[in-house]
């Protein structure tokens, strides 16, 4: 009798429970779909905006290294010779009807200002070229590049475009003569920053980020690991240990700009280390990542079963031997994972760098830890704020590169965890 009534009760509620189960399941699915959708839109727009930046338009010109222009008094002076005139004359030779001064100026603007530097570099490498003519692909100006990529509307009134009707006609003629082509934008990866979009690259920012992360990892990994080992294995468990633990967890949540202010007052103002240097940036980021690394390392050490320690101690190993021979090797994958995740957070930081002068226009690629440098996120910020149109696509391209590095680092963390982790 009682059996039946219980069964009846269960059956009565069954439909409701199944319905709730379904709602629960679909809510979860909906949440995941929305998340994936946002991510998809983000990646789609990013790639749509940024992919064109990996290509750059080039113009084929016949550079005539005329002695009359470069060495009017018979001697070539690399510093003062009029190298800009070489590509300009080459372009003018293609359009013989262009005679007036203002038209010539418009024609000159089709080529990047780097064309003159290219001519100089060629002569510098091979002085024999003087007096000869060489065919070279030189970068087109960014307005021409934008026109060819369809980012400038040809239909609208001339005065509203950054490129004139005449210039469009010239570009079209060059295109029909197959003197314009798009090729891979190597400058984006080999150059430092520039205010000319066609010359701007992320090499300087990448090297800046690299040096900074080097300093960060060299400092925060050993210090973080040592602190974690001490706190887990050696420190007495009392209220002081609790206080330290609370403070470390708290530090991990402190806004990064605070670390920037700390870095400014301690490293730059007090220790008078150079402003804008990757060394200072790395020190600040080390402070930022230390709590993350300590927390991850402590979790990894805690996960090593006590039986291992006890067995080692039982066989007569000292505390230090237990830690270095048994606990540390087993906890290492977890500690490395924590470090990589901390590093990828450091790579994406820009706010603390603002305070120590790393938000700056720096053309030269940094050669060491004390050269002025920026970082990848800072470069993105600076480009996003530039008025020139062509920087919009380069901003997206730089974001793609940054995301690529973050993905790589996080993937490494996952692989280390999967391959080296031991299950007990």
């Amino acid at each position: 009798m009682t059996d039946n009534s219980t069964k009846a009760k269960v059956e009565k509620g069954l439909a409701r429970r199944r319905r709730n189960e379904l709602i629960f399941r679909s809510a979860g699915m909906l949440a995941t779909t929305v998340g994936v959708l946002f991510l998809g839109v983000f990646f789609f727009t990013l790639i749509q905006n940024g992919s064109s930046a990996f290509q750059q338009s080039f113009v084929l010109v016949d550079l005539e290294f005329s002695e009359d222009i470069l060495a009017p008094d018979g001697e070539l002076d690399l510093e003062y010779a009029n190298f800009d005139a070489i590509p300009r004359n080459a372009l003018r030779a293609k359009f013989p009807d262009v005679t007036s001064r203002s038209e010539r100026r418009e024609l000159n603007r089709l080529l990047s200002i780097s064309a003159g530097y290219i001519a100089r570099d060629m002569i510098e490498d091979d002085p024999e070229l003087l007096g000869q003519t060489v065919q070279v692909w030189v970068p087109a100006a960014s307005t021409v590049d934008m026109l060819l990529k369809g980012n400038i509307d040809r239909e609208i009134v001339e005065s509203l475009r950054p490129i004139s009707d005449k210039q469009i006609a010239w570009v079209d003629e060059l295109v029909s003569n197959e003197r314009v082509r798009k090729q891979f934008n190597t400058a984006l990866f080999t150059n430092g920053d520039s205010r000319e979009p066609e010359l701007a690259g992320i090499r300087g920012a990448l090297m800046g980020s690299f040096y900074m992360l080097l300093v960060t990892v060299v400092l925060s990994l050993p210090i973080g690991a040592a602190a974690a080992i001490y706190l887990e294995e050696l420190a007495p468990k009392n209220k002081w240990a609790d206080l330290i633990e609370v403070n470390i967890n708290n530090l991990a949540a402190v806004p990064s700009i605070v670390f920037g202010l700390l870095g400014l007052s301690i490293f730059v103002n007090w220790a008078s280390l150079p402003r804008s240097a990757p060394l200072v940036g790395g020190l600040v980021l080390a402070l930022l990542t230390l709590p993350v690394i300590i927390i991850a390392s402590r979790a990894a050490i805690k996960a090593v079963p006590p039986s291992i320690r006890e067995a080692a101690l039982g066989l007569g190993a000292s505390k230090m031997q237990v830690v270095f021979h048994h606990v540390l090797p087993l906890a290492l994958p977890g500690m490395l994972t924590g470090t990589i995740i901390g590093m990828s957070r450091a790579l994406g930081e820009s706010a603390p760098l603002l305070m120590i002068g790393m938000v700056a226009f720096i053309v030269d690629v940094p050669q060491g830890l004390s050269d002025p440098a920026t970082a990848l996120p800072v470069q993105i910020y600076l480009w996003a704020d530039s008025p020139e149109r062509a920087f919009a696509e380069r901003t997206s391209a730089a974001i793609i590169v940054l995301l690529g590095f973050l993905l790589l680092m996080n993937l490494t963390a996952v692989i280390i965890r999967k391959r080296m982790e031991r299950k007990w």
Binding site: Y117, P162, V218, S276, F324, D385
Partner: protein, 350 residues
Amino acid sequence: MANRTKITGAVVCLLGALAFAQPAAAQSARDYIYIVGSSTVYPFTTVVAERFGRSSDFRTPKVESTGSGGGLKLFCDGIGVDYPDIANASRGIKQSEIERCAGNGVAEIVEVKIGYDGIVFAHAINSVDFEVTREEIFLALAKEVPGDSEGSLIENPYRKWSDINPELPDLEIEVLGPPPTSGTRDAFVELGMEGGCKAIDWIAELKKTDSDKFKAVCHTIREDGVFVEAGENDNLIVQKLQANPAAFGIFGFSFLDQNAEKVKAVAIDGVAPTFDAIADNDYPVARSLFFYVKKAHVGVIPGLREFLKEFSSERAWGEEGYLSERGLIPMPDDERRQVATDIKELKTIS
């Protein structure tokens, strides 16, 4: 295992030692120019810096974008390689800043005016034509506006442009502008809002009798959602204007220049912000841009004198120079010549 830990330890120590050994040597001299200051002047200085670095044997100057106030603060911290050589500013240096400089040993400062910048009030290219006076801008954006009787102030009641002046279109007032930390905001408030504020007689009187109240009335922007702080990024404002044809944005002339097919500027007091109108000083919301040089650093920091020469050359800041292509509005010929001579003689501000 123990061996491996030893090697890792040694490598770590070595790297650490390297990291700290290097700066000591590198700090003793600086072979590049160090510039700080206004984010409005930044796009112009960086162009000169880059061309200077490419065409000369000197290294490319380092240009930090810190804002005018922050830049002058760093600039006035002292003399020597640790401190900037040049500070950019989108306003003139203040007396208090000159005194602070002098207190820190920076006694001789050379002021260089580089040209003009207009602050535009613009909206999407496809929206209705619009023309306002500065008084209308003040009435649209101030927190408190004059009430019915003289001397009374009421909370800004205007929601539509047609509420202010029946001849203006029947459009909600919505303005995107920079936050209070920006020099553009300062200049807009000073030239646009205060200019319109003065058109109301009894408030103009207030300037003489109670200048604090005058400032509070003229400089305070409404906080009821009509004026939206859109951040320092002018590109973002341009994008938002495109998406919303009813909205207006406040930003620098160079962004209007680069986005002429997306946004158009509103004529203020009957004058549109064109290159010529700003250069001739007809456009009411325009300001001068400056940079300041430490005289003591000239001749010590390599290339500083040559950099000044490049900046003040006709090919840079002239009528057809490369800076005018970037949206800098050049000074008239004789003023340019005068400033160039002053730079050459390193004439300091007294």
